[in-house]
Structures are given as structure tokens and as C-alpha cells.
């Protein structure tokens, strides 16, 4: 009886008793969710345009944050560092296309997926070698992001909104809008969609497959940079970010592999879900459940809607 009470009643009583804490939890979940969504967005971009399930997206986030901080530490001005990182990502996109994707063209999706795991290892090894493995702080102020936090008093307590989180949310929204416009209104964007639907068709329109891959990996790199800045600001810049990056996988499951809205909504579901669960149910299990709860949410989703939130039901044919 006691256990049932602890599971089904007590958490809700607590939510009602301390609404300010509840709102704080929602906000934290919301910000985390936005960032999960952004990582997932990187996956989606590449998957949509090239059918590659890019396992290296989380490490791209790490690489972006790490190289940005390292450039700055070497004495390069903050905004120049950003540009350097972008140049680096363009070079990386080009190399990946040249050395890996082009060699594996027409191969099965699983093989492309595996190759991105290999890429992940290469990046980890190289980045650690070059930038070292010591965690450092993100150069938030130097990039001109607002500092400090807002406190809204409510329900007898207060809810804190970190300015950097607010910035993250705003920028995430802006990025999503830009990408949505990019995909639906610009020629390149439509080209990217054409590639995913039908490689032959895209070629006949006169778009080079190779160029598109470079572009899309570069765009994914930009998304990774943005994600890296904000996530780096929330915690330290280190390789531990990669594990957090894997959370994008359950996000994808919920939102579907090809939907930009799906990525964001999935991110929010995961972010909010795991935060609330951690705070209200976590203590029952000895806390630290954030590490796996996201996957469980995704699993539950899969069992009931194997095609994800935004996918169509498949009719199997033989």
C-alpha cells in the first residue's frame, strides 16, 4: 500500500504543494528538451537529405564546443573563433563526403550508419589529441550572451530563469524557423528534399549529390555549434556531453527520423518527461534515473506506435 501511495499519490501531492518547484522543473525540462531537440535536428537534417543515420551528431556537438573554447584559449577573439569553427566544419563536411560517403554510395543504410560510428571514434581520438581531455567552461560572456538570471516570484517561492537558457530557447526557435523556411522556400532546400525522396530525380534536376551532402553536413555542423554553445554553458565542455547527446536517439524515435517538428516536439517530451520523473519519482529508485528514463519513454512509444509520432502506419506487403 505504502509503495502504491509513493508511486501514484505522493508525487502529485508534492507538485500541488510546491507549484513553484513544479514550474521550475518544467522550465528546466523545457530547456533541456530544446537542446535535445536541436541535436535531434542535426540527425534529421542528414537523414532527410542523405538517408544516413548519422551517429556522429553528438560528437559533432562536443567537437564544436571544444574547438570553440580551445580557439579562444589560444587567444583568438571569440567571434573569430566561431568563424574558425564554421570553417573547420565545412572542411570536415567536405572530408566526410570525399573520404567516407562517396566511397559508400549505394551501400545499405546499416553500413552507412556503422561508418558514422567509425567517424565518431576518429573525431573523439583526434579531438582529444588536439584539444586535450580536460573539461573547461564555455565562453558565454565573450560571445555576448546575456548573463545572470531572472527570478519570478510566484506561489510563495520563486522560479529562476537563467538568461543563457532563455537565449538558448530563443535561438532554437529562430533556427527552426530558418531551417523550415530553408527547406520549403529555397532552391537548395527543395533540392535536399528531392535527394531524400529520389536520388535519380534529384540528379535530373541538376543538383550534384556530392554537393548536397557537403551542404547538409555543414548545416548539421552549424546546428551542432549552436547546441554546443548552449549545452556547454549549462555544464562543462567535455566528452561527457556525448553521452547526453545520445539522448537524441529516443527523441528521434518519438518524433520520427524525417520530421523537423517531430525532433523538437520529441525533444520537449523527453526533456520534460525525464526532468519531472527524476524529481518526483527518482528518489524512489535512488535517483540518477535521468541516465535511462528517456530511453524507456521511447521504448514505450515504440511498443505502441512503432512508426513514431509523425510517421505513417506501414502496411507490410509480401
Amino acid at each position: 500500500m505504502e509503495i502504491l501511495y509513493a508511486i501514484f499519490i505522493a508525487p502529485f501531492v508534492e507538485m500541488g504543494a510546491y507549484p513553484d518547484l513544479f514550474i521550475q522543473a518544467l522550465w528546466d525540462g523545457f530547456v533541456a528538451g530544446t537542446l535535445y531537440g536541436l541535436i535531434a535536428l542535426g540527425f534529421v537534417l542528414i537523414f532527410k537529405a542523405s538517408g544516413v543515420f548519422n551517429f556522429s551528431q553528438p560528437i559533432l556537438v562536443v567537437l564544436a564546443a571544444l574547438s570553440l573554447v580551445s580557439f579562444y584559449q589560444m587567444g583568438v577573439p571569440a567571434w573569430i573563433s566561431v568563424i574558425l569553427v564554421l570553417i573547420m566544419f565545412y572542411a570536415l563536411a567536405w572530408l566526410v563526403e570525399r573520404l567516407i560517403l562517396r566511397q559508400l554510395v549505394n551501400q545499405d543504410g546499416n553500413i552507412l550508419f556503422m561508418s558514422t560510428i567509425g567517424l565518431t571514434f576518429i573525431i573523439i581520438g583526434a579531438a582529444q589529441w588536439i584539444f586535450g581531455g580536460v573539461p573547461s567552461a564555455m565562453i558565454v560572456d565573450e560571445l555576448g550572451f546575456p548573463n545572470g538570471s531572472l527570478e519570478w516570484p510566484m506561489f510563495g517561492g520563486g522560479v529562476y530563469f537563467e538568461m543563457i537558457d532563455v537565449s538558448a530557447a530563443v535561438i532554437a526557435v529562430i533556427m527552426i524557423v530558418i531551417l523550415a523556411v530553408f527547406f520549403s522556400k529555397t532552391k537548395i532546400g527543395r533540392g535536399l528534399r528531392a535527394v531524400a525522396d529520389d536520388h535519380q530525380a534529384a540528379l535530373s534536376v541538376g543538383i550534384s549529390l556530392n554537393q548536397i551532402w557537403v551542404i547538409v553536413w555543414f548545416v548539421a555542423g552549424i546546428v551542432a555549434l549552436v547546441t554546443g554553445i548552449f549545452w556547454g554553458a549549462r555544464s562543462d565542455v567535455s566528452f561527457a556531453l556525448q553521452i547526453i547527446g545520445f539522448k537524441a536517439l529516443p527523441v528521434l524515435i518519438i518524433g520520427g527520423f524525417t520530421s523537423i517538428q517531430g525532433a523538437i516536439i520529441g525533444g520537449l517530451i523527453i526533456g520534460l518527461g525525464e526532468k519531472i520523473f527524476e524529481i518526483y519519482w527518482g528518489p524512489l529508485l535512488g535517483s540518477g534515473v535521468e541516465g535511462w528514463f528517456a530511453y524507456v519513454i521511447a521504448l514505450v512509444f515504440l511498443l505502441y506506435r512503432p512508426q513514431g509520432l509523425f510517421g505513417d502506419k506501414l502496411i507490410e506487403r509480401v
Binding site: 502506419k313 502496411i315 507490410e316 506487403r317 509480401v318
Partner: protein, 259 residues
């Protein structure tokens, strides 16, 4: 064709829908023991869906399937396979990672039952079972004249032979009824003749009841004892090849249309 015309299988008032799309609409027909029954119709007429209903891959919203004189309860495909229904597929569904003999051996899966323990030791009952079923598969391979490709990975085989290996695999199940989904699609005239001969041989030698989907009317007229014609998911005609051929509705819907 057997003389006493006892019904082996009967589908009654089948209705199958996918979302809003009606695939099969109130179709009923029967299959006699030992006959070759053809299902024909234009593309999208619901022929393959019908086979999928018979072997339990699709569950119709309404309708009954009677087999062996009993109404079949709702079952999973693997359970239906156990009742003695085997099939081949329109787009060859062989196990690409295996050789011909291994593919045929998969047809014996259901008849094998030695447990994990013996399997691990591959000794005693497990190996005896393996040998026993291997022998049966070799007989089928011999029957269908695919001896020379026994150890070739099926992916490396030409299309016509792949179709024959698939038939061998289905036969290895010793089925009561064999469903063939366009067994001759994409074959040249010579391969079609070979395949027709094998289908007739199977029907005669093993007495297997056969239901097949086929586009080539000449082949159907040669092979089939009776023909069901479907069009837009509905039953258009049912009878001997000659009857069907002279049926005006069929001529209008199918035979008259060049394709």
C-alpha cells in the same frame, strides 16, 4: 484433379480493408482437394491480398476461412504454416545469406523439434533429425532438378532458378495446399514451360493441392482445373478455364483489355 471433388479449403465472404481502402470485398470460393486452382485478375485486383488472407498474413475484417472441413480460428502466420499451408512469393523471398540446400532445409523447420541441448552438441537426436530431413530435401532438389546449384548461395542464382528454389522450399514443408504467387512472372517462354511442368509434376506426384496467381492466360488455361477471377477486390467469375474464358464480364474487365 481428384474425382470426388472434396473441398479442402473454402473462403467465405472475405472483406479486407486497409484504412479506408477496400482490398477485398465479399469474396467467397473454394478449393478442391488435389486440384490446381488459379486466381487471376488485373493488377490491384486483390489476388495477392487473397493469398495473404489464406496464409494468415492479413487478418480480414470479416469473413471465414475453412480448412480441412473446419472453420479456422484467428491464428498467427507461423501457426497457419503448421496446419499445412506453404507459399511462394511474387518478389522472391529467399534467404539471401544461405545456399540452395540451406534454403530448402528451412522448409523442414516445422518438422524438426530437437531441443537446444542436443542442438548445442549436434549429436544424437539432433544430428539424426538433421540427416533425416536433409535426405527429404535432397529428394525435392532432385525432383526439381536443381542438383547442380545445391551449394550455390541463392543470391548468385539467375531469376528463374531462384523461383525454383523457392518452390523447393515450399515443397519441403510437405504442404497440404501450396500457394504460388505469380510463379512465372518475369520468365521467358522456356522457363515458363519448365515451371509449368514442375507445377504439374508436383500436383501429380505429391498430390499437392495448388492455388496460384498468374497473369499469363495461356499458362492458366493449360494448368488450372478451375479459375477464380477477381476485379477491384470483387469476385467476377468462378469456373473451369473454358467457362471463365467465355464469361462476358471477364472478357470486358480483363481479357478484352490488352496489357
Amino acid at each position: 484433379m481428384s474425382e470426388n471433388n472434396s473441398v479442402l479449403m473454402e473462403v467465405k465472404n472475405i472483406n479486407l480493408r486497409f484504412g479506408g481502402v477496400v482490398a477485398i470485398q465479399n469474396v467467397s470460393f473454394d478449393i478442391y482437394e488435389g486440384e490446381i486452382r488459379a486466381i487471376i485478375g488485373p493488377n490491384g485486383a486483390g489476388k495477392s491480398s487473397m493469398l495473404n488472407v489464406i496464409n494468415g498474413f492479413y487478418h480480414p475484417q470479416e469473413g471465414e476461412v475453412w480448412f480441412n472441413g473446419e472453420k479456422r480460428p484467428s491464428m498467427e502466420p507461423y501457426q497457419i504454416a503448421k496446419t499445412g499451408i506453404a507459399r511462394t512469393f511474387q518478389n522472391i523471398a529467399l534467404f539471401k545469406g544461405m545456399t540452395t540446400i540451406e534454403n530448402v532445409m528451412t522448409g523442414r523447420q516445422l518438422k524438426m523439434n530437437k531441443n537446444f541441448f542436443w542442438q548445442m552438441l549436434r549429436y544424437g537426436p539432433a544430428i539424426e533429425e538433421e540427416v533425416e530431413h536433409r535426405r527429404r530435401c535432397e529428394e525435392i532438389i532432385d525432383f526439381l532438378e536443381i542438383n547442380h546449384i545445391r551449394k550455390t548461395p541463392v543470391g548468385a542464382l539467375p531469376y528463374g532458378l531462384q523461383k525454383r528454389v523457392e518452390l523447393a522450399r515450399a515443397l519441403a514443408m510437405d504442404p497440404k495446399i501450396l500457394l504460388l504467387d505469380e510463379p512465372m512472372a518475369g520468365m521467358n517462354v522456356e522457363e515458363k514451360q519448365d515451371m509449368s511442368r514442375f507445377i504439374i509434376d508436383v500436383n501429380e506426384e505429391f498430390g499437392t493441392t495448388i492455388a496460384l496467381i498468374e497473369h499469363d492466360m495461356a499458362v492458366v488455361m493449360d494448368l488450372a482445373d478451375r479459375v477464380v477471377v477477381l476485379d477491384y477486390g470483387k469476385l467476377l467469375a468462378d469456373g473451369t478455364p473454358t467457362e471463365v474464358q467465355s464469361n462476358q464480364a471477364v472478357i470486358d474487365a480483363y481479357l478484352g483489355v490488352p496489357h
